[in-house]
Symmetry: C2
């Protein structure tokens, strides 16, 4: 396509933080044209995805159409398509619809996905993770439907009803901690007066962590403070709990040498992440999580025209003192890689050597729930309300587009004071039991799936 | 369930305008307990559904959780469930999950669904209608994906590309007119600068109407003015065009004795409405559209304890002069029926006779697009900007909940001045061609459906 164009063609796969930043950093290069390919039509502000999953924000607040974001960048073309193969020798990628796209330089930024430690087929259907908007919608529906089911089964035996009021989050990293804290808040406050047959405040939220503390990436005393805040919000924190089985009705755990069964209809997976399978198409060494081991300048060995950035890259930060450190899988890391890849592309076009990647660490921040968070800014550590306010400020600041920031602020302010969450819509879908029942006792008419009764 | 409760049990099926209004009107009756059953968890402000379908509003702005709306009404229990059968003799209904619910009085308010004039199986997959949020999400994705596909196929033959830029709306009632006008606006303004390979302003929006004019329910001169405004917005209005075929690639039409083929990948159905199939479970006479023919007091013949309200009822308005008039299928009609049914339930409990339904007509209002609408308030008819401003005011006024009104106003003000539509998210889903292709040329790993590249 467009083979008549003489400009250097940079093809970017994936429009997360890394890919988007690379594209933007090349905006003023007249000698370069960019094609950005993404499977979805939007750039997602993933750090707030759990808010969509828990009904606090609606999707458009954290997702902006990619082509709208880049509408003024005239050297960028956006294509919504799925890349299914990469041919490094011929310098082209193939799309799912059979088309081919050539490139002069390739930036692979296709990110990460869930990993169920080899149990994907068994566990994924029962314990959805949280990476995409689709995941968030499914999780939101699942959580809200669980309370609806419990209300419907109010007269049934406790053994049938209670698993609907047990919510298990597996993995106490930032996403797991956020999900657990927010679900506890929903049960204790949001839904408090809305049920007549069950008491939603009696719902149990369990946070299971295989290691000995929550938020491993933080210093131990911040982990301890996070655990305290979680407990105060009503979350049952269980460290040293190794998940050995997940099915439709609960979770099997090994805890202090014992095997336990936790009956639960709602299980959230926040434990494992693996690199996008596209990394393996590059045919270069990957680490255990499938991340591509990149050169200091973020290109792959032997191919200075192919870069890998973001969660897909196993990159090292090359410190001033000559040592190296691994780069954490957070959005500032991906953005910084995207920027450096862009700079190295330009340098190479001018015959200059690439610069090595150095990660600038602004600190770590994790929110837990209402007025609860932990912050580690290197020399400064704090938690509770100050950390939460800081978290709020940072996340609103980095949200893209004025409208989003404004509406998110409005949503948060209103939910903070009212304890309400406005985005609690479940799209009409098959209710449990609805799929296998024809409608109408004396009618052969079938109901379209979208019909409201 | 709850058989120990001695209060009179009113069971309401469906929480649209009719069902919700009936429940609310019974709020102060201490001798009555209410169970409201709906397949979805939200009350939908259907008049603005086309705004969700066209990316102008996000779903939570027009959909409120039913149990949140009724949280302070202590005599009301909300159940999210699907009713699949009604047993009038035993006074109970059966739910899809096998449970039974008894009642003393039943109010059936399950509304209407699409009707494809007997061609449901053939046409529905290619020409989605617009009744539920799910419909709106699907339509939104379909419209946005069509432009994405056209951009992807920019180098393909015109015959392959152009059907993606033809948008056909079938039926020029209020919904069809709104959809056509808004889609023309999206093509001409919203997406204007966002594509590099196609010119979205060259997209064609066709509005096909079988009868001789748009907006049949309005006076002929307002219809003419609506048609003018549609044309000015860029819609091709084709009256006297009878649809005889719909498939994945286009529509077959009979127009002035000729059979024509319109190639189009996006077809919206706004032509036929049929009553909910639940009406037939009542085993009483229905009209041609499947609507239940009710008594003057809105109960069904022989069963003063069973009421039918809203779009499911073929109700007559009993005028003061003794004549009767059919009631139009609009939200004020449904609300008024809900209120009268509630009053007649209370009257019956006190041994009083039912009152006959009289519809109070506040006029008709239809929006067409940016600054374009028609209004018929009986003695007063107007169109254009004044009608549009009036429409705006009425719809914001009737939206439920302060937050919704405020956010909707914000969205509308911002999209009016910027020509933008913020809710343009397509959830990650299989792209055309993506489903039947494995990922990875040398990898057997498959990509989870929700993964972003």
């Amino acid at each position: 396509m467009d083979s008549h164009d003489s400009r250097h063609h940079v093809l970017i796969i994936g429009c997360g933080f890394g890919g988007l930043e690379a594209a933007r950093a090349l905006a003023d290069e007249d000698g370069i044209r960019i094609t950005l390919v993404d499977r979805s039509n939007h750039h997602l502000f993933q750090p707030l995805l759990y808010q969509v999953a828990t009904g606090g924000l609606s999707a458009p607040s954290i997702a902006a159409p990619i082509r709208h974001m880049l509408r003024r960048q005239r050297n960028a073309t956006v294509l919504m398509a799925e890349v299914v193969g990469i041919d490094k020798a011929a310098r082209r990628v193939s799309l799912a619809d059979g088309q081919q796209l050539g490139y002069d330089t390739l930036v692979v930024a296709s990110g990460a996905t869930h990993s169920y430690f080899g149990r994907d087929a068994d566990w994924a259907p029962h314990a959805p993770g949280l990476k995409t908007l689709d995941d968030a919608f499914k999780l939101r529906a699942k959580v809200l439907l669980a309370f609806e089911q419990a209300e419907l089964l109010a007269d049934a035996a406790a053994a049938a009803r209670e698993p609907w009021l047990n919510f298990v989050v597996i993995g106490a990293g930032p996403t797991g901690v956020e999900m657990a804290g927010t679900m506890a808040e929903i049960a204790r406050h949001t839904l408090k007066d809305e049920f007549r047959r069950i008491d939603p405040t009696r719902a149990q939220v369990l946070l299971l962590e295989g290691s000995d503390r929550v938020l491993q990436a933080f210093k131990p005393d911040l982990s301890a403070r996070a655990a305290q805040q979680l407990t105060a919000l009503g979350v049952q924190v269980r460290c040293g709990a190794k998940v050995v089985g997940i099915d439709a009705e609960g979770v099997d755990v090994e805890e202090r040498g014992q095997r336990l069964r936790i009956p639960a209809r709602t299980v959230v997976w926040a434990a494992g992440v693996a690199a996008s399978p596209l990394g393996r198409c590059l045919d270069v060494p990957v680490d255990r999580a499938g991340r591509v081991i990149v050169e200091p300048g973020l290109s792959i060995p032997g191919h200075p025209e192919v870069y890998v950035v973001g969660d897909l890259a196993a990159a090292q930060s090359h410190e001033r003192d000559g040592t190296t450190k691994p780069v954490p899988g957070v959005s500032p890391g991906a953005k910084q890689m995207g920027r450096l890849a862009a700079a190295n592309i330009v340098a190479r076009l001018h015959g200059k050597p690439p610069e090595a990647f150095r990660y600038v660490d602004y600190g770590a921040l994790a929110t837990i729930g209402r007025s609860a968070a932990v912050a580690d800014l290197g020399k400064l550590q704090f938690s509770g309300l100050p950390a939460w306010l800081f978290w709020l400020f940072v996340h609103i600041y980095f949200l893209i587009g004025f409208r989003n920031r404004f509406v998110v602020m409005l949503d948060w302010a209103s939910s903070y004071f009212s304890f309400q969450r406005h985005a609690r819509v479940i799209a009409e879908q098959a209710l449990p039991g609805a799929a296998d029942q024809p409608i109408g006792v004396h009618s052969s008419t079938s109901v379209p799936s979208g019909q409201r009764t």
